[in-house]
Structures are given as structure tokens and as C-alpha cells.
Amino acid sequence: MSSARRGGATFPQAAHVELRNTQLRRNLGHATRTIRAKRAAVVDELDNWQQLREAGAAIKRDVMANLDTYLVEFERAATDAGATVHWAPDADAANDLVAGIVAGHGEHEVVKVKSLTTDEIGLNDALAARGVDALETDFAELILQLDGDWSSHILVPAIHRNRSEIRDLLRRTIGPADLSDDPAALAEAARIHLRERFLRARIGISGANFAIAETGTLVVLESEGNGRMCTTLPEVLISVVGIEKLLPRFEHLAVFMQLLPRSSTGERMNPYTSLWTGVTPGDGPGEMHVVLLDNGRSDVLRDPDGREALHCIRCSACLNVCPVYERTGGHAYGSIYPGPIGAILTPQLEGIGAAASLPYASSLCGACYEVCPVKIDIPRVLVHLRGLTPKRGAERRAMRTLAWLFADAGRYRRAQRLARVLPARVAGAGPMRAWTAGRDLPAVAPQSFREWWHERRP
């Protein structure tokens, strides 16, 4: 996949298909209810949660305001520590860089840590086209890879699959024919399948949750240990890192290590977090590459009203609370970044024309903003992006007329009187149907407040 968009369907078209899948809705409803409760419990136990969110937001604002400085600082620190830093303006450049490093070592197999960024650029397909087999080692990613399916959730990519569906898949592919649907047995099948591949792999590929500018350190959070396997056992490690992943100082990481696990898996801390700073002689890979990726991020940065989408730390809390996501699932968004954050990130990364229906994939209820650990005001950005989507002629003319009416008190009064006598269906007729079909037109009051006040004024 060379771009994050899959298929040409708009969100409403894709959602209509997904909504008919009752199994999907059961799986999703169960999963999002579970994780919402877990998150709420561990967030409630921190008295300083709001301060942590403020600090997280402030640090990210600083990162974006000085991104060029921090990128250069990171490059210097990582280089001093023995890593090689590469710059990739777009997906093709990043894929070429990674493929080139793999080819330079004459390898045809790499092991991968779950990474949204490499999904975004379609790295696996790019490597496959050059005869390199990229093995996903995160359990959920492995499930999707074995089935030719794709992710529907940032954190739990196979959230749309239940245990019996997974058992059937593993029986067909890597597991014994009598595999049970006990989650422990399913995980054991993955452990056995991947063990030997980890021990023989010469090249590992990862993303990074954070990159620390002042020390050149990369950070990966995970649960299973596959991330530790991929980042410590191979001889060569290549990390593809979006430029927005930077943190200025080492001490800032402590803030995000409190925000991210509680927001994403609903745990006080995820089982494993790995930090590495270049090459450590005698411990881990002897060759380290970091690919700094733009791929549309600088376009997002250009818009002062939209750039806070880059603050996202990919926790997925906004997906789990979203009434729209809970019903449609991730595939309807047609992007590797689904849910509320995807609805503001995808149209900005790819251009509003490529995903014009996504800013409308929301009821603007604001639940996503409430849970966002870095306080991204998603509803505000959604409204901002709605303003940028291409409008039909009739809608544009109607809005212009309304603006003209509302701009003058006399005109507004006369329009109110006219609306009272006009039947409601007139407003919803003709070309305006697209706009009014999904919205109820409120009844116009028989008397405006101003008229009422006027009558009572002595």
C-alpha cells in the first residue's frame, strides 16, 4: 500500500457497509467498553492527571514551534552516539532508504516491531516488491498479515476479530490443527512460530513512540517482548520515525510515560519499554539507522489551526470513547489512522481533497477532547477542516445568503418573519436536500425574544 487511504469510498459509503456487520459491532462494542473502563480506573487514581495533560500539551507545542532546531539537535546527538541519521521527505524516499540498507547487507528477511509509521508509508509492500520478506511480530499485526487484512485500531489492530475467528485463522496458517480458542493457547502458537525467526534475524525494523532531541534516544513501548527482540537481537536496527515524535529533553519523557500507558492500554505501565541511544558496544545491534520522515507532516505544521494534530502520541483513547468509531469500526475511515484523530490527521496529511468526508465523521460530542492525554481539541480542528472541504455550489450560495441576512439587524428581522410563514419543507427542497436530509430543521418560534421584550417594555 503506497498510501494510507484504501479504496475510494467516502466515510458514509464505507460506514454503511461496516454497520451491516453485526459480528464486527459485537466485537467492537465489547472491546471498547472494556478498555474505556480500564482507562477510567487508572486515570482516576492520579490526582495530577490534568496537570500532566497540560504539561504534555505544552511540551508538544514547544516541539512544533521549534521543530527544525530539535531535528538538528537530535541528528547531532544520535550521530555522536553512533547511529546514522537519514532524512525522508516522503514515503518513497523512506522506503528506498530502508530497502537500500537491507539490500546493502544482502538480506531477504527482516523482523518488524508494530509501527503505524511504517504502515503509513507501506513499507512492507515496498520491501516485498524488492524480494524482502518483512515479518510482523506483534501478535495482532501477525494475525492481520497472515490473513491479508489490515488494521482497524491504532493500538489493537485486530480489535475487529474475536477469539474464534483468530483460532480458525491460526489453525489454517501457523498453528496446530487442534488449537483451542483460549487466548493463552493462541499466544503460545505465536510464540512458537516467531521464536526461531527472532533468534536468526539479522535486521530489525521499528518505529518509535518518542525521540529525545538532546540525547538522541529512541523509545518504544510494547507489551509482548517482540519489540525488545527486534531492537536488541539483530545486528542491524532501522527505525522509521515521524518528525513529530521528538521530545526536547530527557526529563520530558517521564510526563509521557505517565500519560501514554494509562491512556492507551489502561495500565499504570505497559509491560516493556525500551530506550536506546545509538550503539552500545557488546549489547544489541552494532549498526543503527534512524530515518526521519516528513510525508505530509510539514504540511500539517503549516496550518496554525490544524497543526495540533501533530501532538498526537497514538494512544487511541479517542477511538475508544467515540460513538461513531464504536459503531463503524476503523476500516470505514479508509486510513491507517482511524477514529477522531484520524479524521483530523488523514485529511491534513494527504490533502483535504483526498479525505473530504472524514471531518464529518463525527457528532462533535467532544468525548475525544476530554480523554486526549495531550489535550488536542479534536472537535475544534474538525470544524476548522469542515470549513476547508470543497463545497457544492448550492451549499456555498445558501451559506453566503445566510451570512448576508445575519449581518444586518433589519434584514435578520425581516427574514425571521418570513421564515415563520414559509413551510419548513421549502428550505429542505431541491439542491439543499443533501444538507437537510440528515438534519431536523427546528421549528421557528411564533415570536422572537426581541419582539416579546418589545411588547413588555414599559
Binding site: A65, D68, E224, G225, R268, P271, T277, D299
Partner: protein, 208 residues
Amino acid sequence: MSDARDVLLGRVRAALTDRPQPAAAVLLPTPPAPADPVALFAERAGEYRAAVHRVGLTGVAALAAEICAAHGARRLAVPQDLPQAWRPHGVETTADATVSALDRVDGVLTGCAAAIAETGTIVLDGGPGQGIRALTLVPDLHICVVPAELVCASVSEAFQRVEPSVRRRRAPLTLISGPSATSDIELSRVEGVHGPRRLEIVIAGQLS
């Protein structure tokens, strides 16, 4: 390559022509201060289904031997500089094991650099008594000795404690909170995927 660098940095600078003003100073929240961090660490590490033991300063070796016996572990990998006082009697220990040899031992015994009470986390920085990262990753049983004085109350305190090793020797850090796990199947947590499936934590210090 330098072209790509110029292109990317040029785009970022062009995007920031308005030079937004960041917050003057980021206020880092004050961490909580639990009354008894060691007790809290024991409780929270236990909630990840790690087994947690408390022992006096002189009892580590004997307890480690008991844990090995309970798991049927006869061969342990250890870091070369593991304190003599921690080495269990009657258990074969090997230092400097290769990765494939680590795949064949019954377990590993190490120390740590810090622990976090608030989250039940162990922090390794490759310092004394810890060895390389593969050591605590490949074997299926990890017995980790946590000297009580290394238990920090909060996440930020633990990061402050290990920051010097990152700055001075670029130490790789590993944070461990319970045994390896996955929640990928219907979000139910299953212990044990690729990392050690069993984690035994031995808190060593004055017993009150």
C-alpha cells in the same frame, strides 16, 4: 542524502513562518509521595501477576534457590558481576551466555537500576548486576533482585535516578512491568508471549 535533509528542514522552516510562541516554561507536575514506597511497589508489581517476595539483606541467595526449585530451574544465566551473596546454592550459573545458549537455560537472575512504586515497574540500565539486554529477554524465567533503597516513589523520580547513566554512558534502558503479555485477543490480558513468561521479584532490605 544532504539534499533530502535540506528539503525536509526547508519545509519545516517554511511551515513555521509564523513562529508560534511556545509556553514560556513547561511546569512538570509534582509526583505523588506515597507513605511506604516499598510496600506500594510490592503491591503494584504483584497486580501484574509478577510474584513478589520480601527478604532480609542476607536472605537473597536462599530465597533465589527456593524460587529455582519451585520452577524446576537447574541452570541460570547471570551477569558476570552478579553479587556473590545473591547466587543461589545448588543451582548451576553461567555468565557470558550467547543468545542461543540463553534460549536453553532455565532462567536468569539479575539486579536492577531502579524500581517505581507508583507503577510496579523495574528499570534496568545495564549497570552493575544487570548484564546485557538479551540476558533478561530470552530466558523464560526472570528472577530480579530489587534492593529496597532503589525503589523510587514515582515515574519521574526513577527517570531522574537513571538519567546520569543515559547521559554519561548512553546506557540502554529497559522498563519491565510484569511478565510479557498481550491484550490483542478481545483485550483480555494474557501473560507470556515473547519475553519471560514468569517474573519473580525479590525485594531485599531491612525487614521491619
